[in-house]
Symmetry: C2
């Protein structure tokens, strides 16, 4: 099968590509070619599978048609500008996160006019589609009232994905990713950055700032689980989905206090001592509006699997990013 990954240079994109090339397959099917697209040229590991890398701007209408000209059987669409940037630049957010996705859907629909075409399209949505009012545990049929333009754009793309699937233009599945932790790399300015930072920095022997209270509860999956969700979605029998083309992925609900206790179990009190409480009302205010936990009943029943403890999430980080060793 021919596979296209849009957003291949991002953190999850790179891990997905590495996994696709390592196994050479998706479900029962062998990958015959892989096309990678992003705003910067994605770099792929050496492999026997033919790989094409492209730097593209999906907000330019013609680009999507070029991407699907080769008629990929499977498309992963991970490309988006992040929440903070979509909030700061209203037009850019709508242009890339909404119009870019719509161009892709339209390119698939129009390609199907020439001759039959209906690719599997795996789209990464987000729990940012949920907003106030929120129950403590959010069910699979809860409404979407996003509190950000990013969440609005993701919610709209979910609706488009479902309608284009219902009409037979794509065979779509949208997966709402939990907050990904532990993210590799350095500290960033995302409001959610500390959820990874309070684990990652202490494991590297560095101090980490904690801007919120220990009681703050949130919803997590590891980067490895995220790649697993994408691959499972790619091979799933979508006939099981009915009209529910968009699914909340299973995650782990954990408080900051539970994160810290897990860090102590995995890396000892020396690591925990590097976490410095530094309350930040702005960040605390933003995080207070975020979802805390989900039922994710449907996704679990379809075989999507997340982590069952924050210890596991930390161990995955140590295995995948630190070569299995901590200092």
């Amino acid at each position: 099968m021919k596979v296209l990954v849009i957003g291949a240079a991002g953190m999850v994109g790179r891990k997905l590509v590495a996994e696709l090339l390592a196994t050479g397959r998706v479900g029962e099917q062998t990958i015959t070619s892989l096309a990678l697209a992003d705003v910067v040229i994605p770099v792929a590991p050496e492999t026997s599978i033919p790989v094409a890398s492209l730097a593209v701007d999906l907000s330019v209408p013609e680009v999507a048609a070029q991407l699907v000209a080769d008629r990929p059987d499977l498309i992963f669409h991970l490309a988006a500008i992040v929440s903070g940037e979509a909030e700061a630049d209203f037009e850019k957010g709508y242009s890339i996160n909404l119009d870019g996705t719509r161009h892709l859907l339209e390119a698939c629909r129009l390609a199907g006019r020439a001759s039959s075409y209906c690719p599997r399209l795996v789209f990464t949505s987000s729990i940012a589609v949920f907003g106030e009012p929120l129950p403590a545990v959010i069910g699979d049929t809860h409404e979407h009232t996003p509190l950000t333009s990013y969440g609005t754009q993701k919610a709209i793309c979910e609706l488009l994905l479902a309608d284009y699937s219902r009409r037979g233009f794509v065979d779509g599945i949208g997966i709402r990713l939990p907050t990904i932790a532990v993210r590799p790399g350095g500290p960033n300015k995302a409001a959610s950055g500390f959820f990874s930072g309070i684990i990652r920095e202490p494991l590297a022997g560095q101090e980490a700032l904690l801007p919120v209270a220990d009681a703050v509860r949130h919803w997590f999956a590891s980067p490895r689980a995220a790649v697993g969700f994408l691959l499972h979605a790619a091979a799933l029998d979508t006939g099981q989905l009915g009209n529910q083309r968009n699914l909340t992925m299973p995650g782990l609900a954990a408080t900051v206090g539970e994160q810290i206790a897990a860090l102590e179990r995995v890396a000892g009190p020396k690591a925990v001592a590097l976490i410095r409480r530094h309350p930040d009302e702005t960040i605390a205010g933003i995080v207070a509006g975020w979802p805390q936990a989900f039922e994710a009943t449907l996704a679990k029943s379809l075989g999507f699997v997340g982590e069952s403890s924050f210890d596991e999430i930390i161990r995955i980080y140590i295995e995948d990013e630190l070569g299995g060793q901590i200092s």
Copy 2:
């Protein structure tokens, strides 16, 4: 205040315009001018209020800017192509129902760049935003999984309306209208047409076909109630809405059997005898996927009022369309 009505030539639009001109006010505010737009030139009653009538195509990007150039304080946006047409013509549906609304929102946002501008925007959405799986009574926080492109387009516009309101570009409120009955005019080809036809035709001494079982239950409001919802939304303190900019309007849940019983009470057995049962599996199948009843708790708490019996809905039809008399 300056008022703009887009979609002024439709059934609800005409009744809204008649009411605006009859009272000359919206809430506490006096109407100083009224602009009416539709794909055909809307006709307005004689009045002392200056009225401008325009034939426009909202799917043309520049049109929305022309409509808001006069900076109306209040915009009613009722324009849409109907469900059946949006399903038959995919591109036209998205072009008018989605892009048309987005052009209007963008025009308001861009007008606000020159100098402060944030009009009240009352948008008519639809219970078509709801789809499977559906509980028997749908709560205010139930998800939107529309089963039609029309429902998808309305659900997307709701999300845009909420985000543009959150950003301060418009002061939006979306109202999900129940199925409007009793519609004046002749029989039409809408799958929902019989809900009005089995009342309207017998009241005119004509036979009406009933394609579904008496047990079929649906959600109704009169045209008079719909106009009431629009006017109430126009004058509402939107500070009460929080992040819930889109509301399911209160309606009346009634089975076809209850409709017929109401007709008998209002117009006697002679009228009921004109209903001929003529099962149509296609229509029965479509209607089976439709919502049956809603809680509408939030809208009721905000003062929106629907009907409390189908007898009342029939009497409103007789008063407003038949001059208060039946043959």
